[in-house]
C-alpha cells in the first residue's frame, strides 16, 4: 500500500525487475513538435527507453518535457519524426498505444465534484471492464494508494498528495505495461514525494512496468531513474545513468566565500591556481579542481598564506545540475527562471491540441 510517510531515502531501482511486462519500451527518432509561430517545443529528439526501466526525463520548465509526453501518449501528433511505444507507432496505431500505456499528466486532472471511488468507477467503465471486475479493481487500487478511507470524499477536499495518488491509481486501472508520469511530485511535501517514489520503484522493480518520468527535480532523477535524459530547449543534451553522467563531469568543484567581499578578487586569483572557474554563487568564487578532492588541503593552505579569511568553503561533488551546467552553460534553477520569463513559456506547460 502506498502511504504518505513511507521510508524516505534511496529507493530500489527497476534494474532488478523480476519480470518485464512489455518487450518493446519506447523509441523516438527525430521527434519534432512545432507550435503556432514556429515555436519548436521539441526539436528532433532521439531516445530509447528499455523495457522495465525507469527513464528520468530531466529539464527545466519549458524545456519540452510535457510536449514530448503528449506526443508519446498520442495526445499530440508530432510535427516530424517517429516514435514507437510498446511496439506501436504513436502516429498510426494510437489506439494500441493507449491500450498499453497509463499516464498521470502534469495537471493531475481530476473532477473536484466526484469522489475518489467515482473517478475509479468511471475509469474502469471507460476501459470496458465487467461490473464485478470494476468493483474489485476499484477497491484494490484504492487500497494500494492508501485512499480507502477517503474514497467517498469529494476530490476537492483532497490534499495535493492524495490527488497525485488518485491520479496514479487511475493510470494503473487497466494494468498498463508502460507508465508515463509527468512531474508527478511537483508541489508535494517530502513524505508524499517519498511515498510516490517508493510506489514507482515498486511498479518497475516488482511488476516490470516501464516508467517514463519527467521531472525538474535533480534529486528525483538521481534517486529514482535507471537512466536520465536531460532536455533543454527541446533537445536532449545528455543521456545515461546518473552515475555515468556525473562521472563525465569528473572533478569536484570548490566554492569559497570571503568574509570581506573586497577580498573576492584576491580569493579568485588564488583559486585559479587550482582549476578552471565555473559559475557559482555571486558572493563567492567557484573553480573545478584540476587535482580532484586531494587539492582541497592545498587550496586551504594557499588562502591562509595569502591572509585571506573565508566565511564559507565547500567542496561540491558532481551532481546532475553540474551535468546540466556543463552541457548548457546554465544551472537548472537559472534555466527554469529564464523559461518562466520567456513569452513562449506557456507552450510547454499546456500544449495546444491540434484542431481537426
Amino acid at each position: 500500500m502506498l502511504v504518505a510517510g513511507a521510508p524516505p531515502g534511496r529507493v530500489p531501482r527497476g534494474a532488478y525487475a523480476r519480470g518485464v511486462r512489455d518487450e518493446h519500451g519506447i523509441q523516438a527518432e527525430g521527434l519534432v513538435r512545432e507550435f503556432k509561430g514556429g515555436i519548436r517545443a521539441v526539436d528532433g529528439i532521439r531516445l530509447e527507453v528499455r523495457p522495465g526501466e525507469i527513464y528520468g526525463f530531466l529539464g527545466p520548465n519549458g524545456a519540452g518535457k510535457s510536449t514530448t509526453v503528449h506526443m508519446l501518449t498520442t495526445l499530440l501528433p508530432p510535427t516530424a519524426g517517429t516514435a514507437c511505444v510498446a511496439g506501436f507507432d504513436v502516429a498510426r496505431d494510437g489506439a494500441k498505444v493507449r491500450a498499453a500505456i497509463g499516464a498521470a499528466l502534469q495537471e493531475a486532472a481530476l473532477d473536484p465534484l466526484l469522489t475518489g471511488r467515482e473517478h475509479l468507477r468511471l475509469q474502469t467503465a471507460l476501459h470496458g471492464m465487467p461490473k464485478a471486475e470494476r468493483r474489485e479493481r476499484t477497491e484494490a487500487l484504492l487500497e494500494r494508494v492508501g485512499l480507502t478511507q477517503a474514497a467517498d470524499r469529494k476530490v476537492r477536499t483532497y490534499s495535493g498528495g492524495m490527488k497525485r495518488r488518485l491520479d496514479l491509481a487511475l493510470a494503473l486501472v487497466h494494468e498498463p505495461s508502460i507508465l508515463f508520469l509527468d512531474e508527478p511530485t511537483t508541489g508535494l511535501d517530502p513524505q508524499s514525494r517519498n511515498a510516490l517514489w517508493s510506489e514507482v520503484a515498486r511498479l518497475s522493480g516488482d511488476e516490470g512496468v516501464t516508467v517514463f518520468l519527467t521531472t525538474q527535480y535533480l534529486e528525483e532523477a538521481d534517486v529514482l531513474a535507471d537512466r536520465v535524459g536531460i532536455i533543454d530547449h527541446g533537445r536532449i543534451v545528455a543521456e545515461g545513468t546518473p552515475g555515468a553522467l556525473k562521472a563525465e563531469i569528473g572533478r569536484p568543484s570548490v566554492e569559497a566565500v570571503p568574509c570581506n567581499s573586497s577580498e573576492r578578487a584576491a580569493v579568485a586569483e588564488v583559486l585559479r591556481r587550482f582549476g578552471r572557474p565555473v559559475p557559482g554563487s555571486p558572493k563567492g568564487v567557484t573553480v573545478r579542481l584540476d587535482g580532484g578532492e586531494e587539492a582541497l588541503a592545498d587550496v586551504v593552505r594557499a588562502l591562509e598564506t595569502e591572509g585571506l579569511h573565508l566565511d564559507h568553503l565547500q567542496l561540491h561533488s558532481p551532481t546532475l545540475d553540474d551535468v546540466f551546467l556543463a552541457k548548457t552553460g546554465r544551472s537548472l534553477e537559472g534555466a527554469a527562471e529564464e523559461a518562466e520569463s520567456r513569452p513562449d513559456a506557456e507552450s510547454e506547460g499546456e500544449p495546444e491540441p491540434l484542431r481537426a
Binding site: L76, R98, E118
Partner: protein
C-alpha cells in the same frame, strides 16, 4: 448501441448528472430566475390579454412557455461551462487516453442536461398548474410539453457543448449567454407575432427559430393539439440539435486530437 458504448455513455451520463446535482449554485438560479421573470412579465404585461386578437384570456397561460426556454438557456450555459472546464483542467485528456468513443462523451454530457431539464420542466409546469394554468391539450399535453422542453434543452445544450469545444474556455461560453438571451427576447416570447406592431421586430421574430420553439410549447397550453405549431417546434428543436451536435462532434475530434 453496442454494449461497450452503452456502458461508456451510461458512466459519463452518471457523472454528468452527479456533477449537475452537486452544483446547487448553478442549478438553483436555473429554477428560480425563469419563475421570477414569469412573475414580472405577467405582472407587467398582463394587460396584453385584453388586446384584440390576443389568443387567450390569460397572459399567464401565454407567458408560461417562455419559462421553459429560459430554463433551457441556463442548461446550455451549465453544460457548456462544465465541458469547457474539462478541457481547461485536462480532464478531457484523461478521457482521451481511455478507449472512450467521442459519441459517448457528447451523449453522456447531454444526459446531465436531460436530468436538469426534466426537473426544470416539471417544476415550471407544477408552478403553472398551481397558479391556475389549465393546458388545452389536457393531461397528455403535459407530457408532450415536458418532452418538447427537454428536447429544446438538449438542442440548446448541444450548442453549449459546441461553444465549449470551439472556444475551450468557460468564460467564452458564459460570454455567449447574453447573446443567446437576445435571441429569446427577439422572438414571440411576450406577444404573438401578428400583434407585434414594429415591423423590424416582427420580421426578426418571424425568422427567429426560437419563436417557433416557444409557440410549439405554447400551443399545447393555449390552443390544444396544433399540428403545425408542434411540427415546427419539434422539427426545429431536432434540426438545431442535430446541427449543433454535428458541429460539436467535429470540434470534439479536434480537441481529443488522438492519433
Amino acid at each position: 448501441m453496442t454494449r461497450p458504448l452503452a456502458l461508456q455513455v451510461g458512466s459519463l451520463a452518471r457523472r454528468s448528472v452527479v456533477r449537475t446535482l452537486r452544483q446547487p449554485v448553478n442549478v438553483v438560479p436555473s429554477f428560480l430566475f425563469p419563475l421570477i421573470l414569469l412573475a414580472v412579465n405577467v405582472g407587467g404585461l398582463g394587460a396584453a390579454e385584453r388586446l384584440p386578437g390576443f389568443p387567450t384570456d390569460s397572459y399567464l397561460d401565454f407567458a408560461l412557455a417562455f419559462t421553459f426556454m429560459q430554463g433551457a438557456l441556463f442548461a446550455t450555459t451549465n453544460a457548456g461551462t462544465d465541458l469547457a472546464r474539462d478541457i481547461q483542467t485536462g480532464f478531457l485528456n484523461r478521457l482521451a487516453l481511455t478507449p472512450m468513443r467521442s459519441a459517448a462523451l457528447l451523449l453522456g454530457q447531454l444526459a446531465g442536461i436531460v436530468a436538469l431539464a426534466l426537473i426544470q420542466a416539471t417544476l415550471y409546469l407544477a408552478v403553472g398548474l398551481v397558479a391556475g394554468v389549465r393546458p388545452e391539450s389536457g393531461v397528455a399535453g403535459l407530457f408532450v410539453v415536458v418532452f418538447l422542453a427537454v428536447l429544446v434543452a438538449l438542442a440548446f445544450g448541444a450548442i453549449g457543448a459546441f461553444l465549449a469545444l470551439r472556444t475551450g474556455t468557460g468564460e467564452a461560453v458564459q460570454a455567449m449567454f447574453p447573446l443567446l438571451f437576445v435571441f429569446l427576447f427577439l422572438s414571440s416570447m411576450n406577444l404573438p407575432r401578428n400583434l407585434i406592431e414594429i415591423d423590424w421586430f416582427r420580421i426578426v421574430a418571424t425568422i427567429n427559430p426560437v419563436s417557433y420553439l416557444i409557440e410549439g410549447i405554447r400551443s399545447l397550453i393555449i390552443t390544444g393539439w396544433d399540428a403545425q405549431a408542434l411540427a415546427l417546434g419539434f422539427g426545429l428543436a431536432l434540426a438545431i440539435g442535430a446541427v449543433a451536435l454535428a458541429a460539436a462532434s467535429v470540434w470534439l475530434q479536434g480537441r481529443l486530437a488522438r492519433s
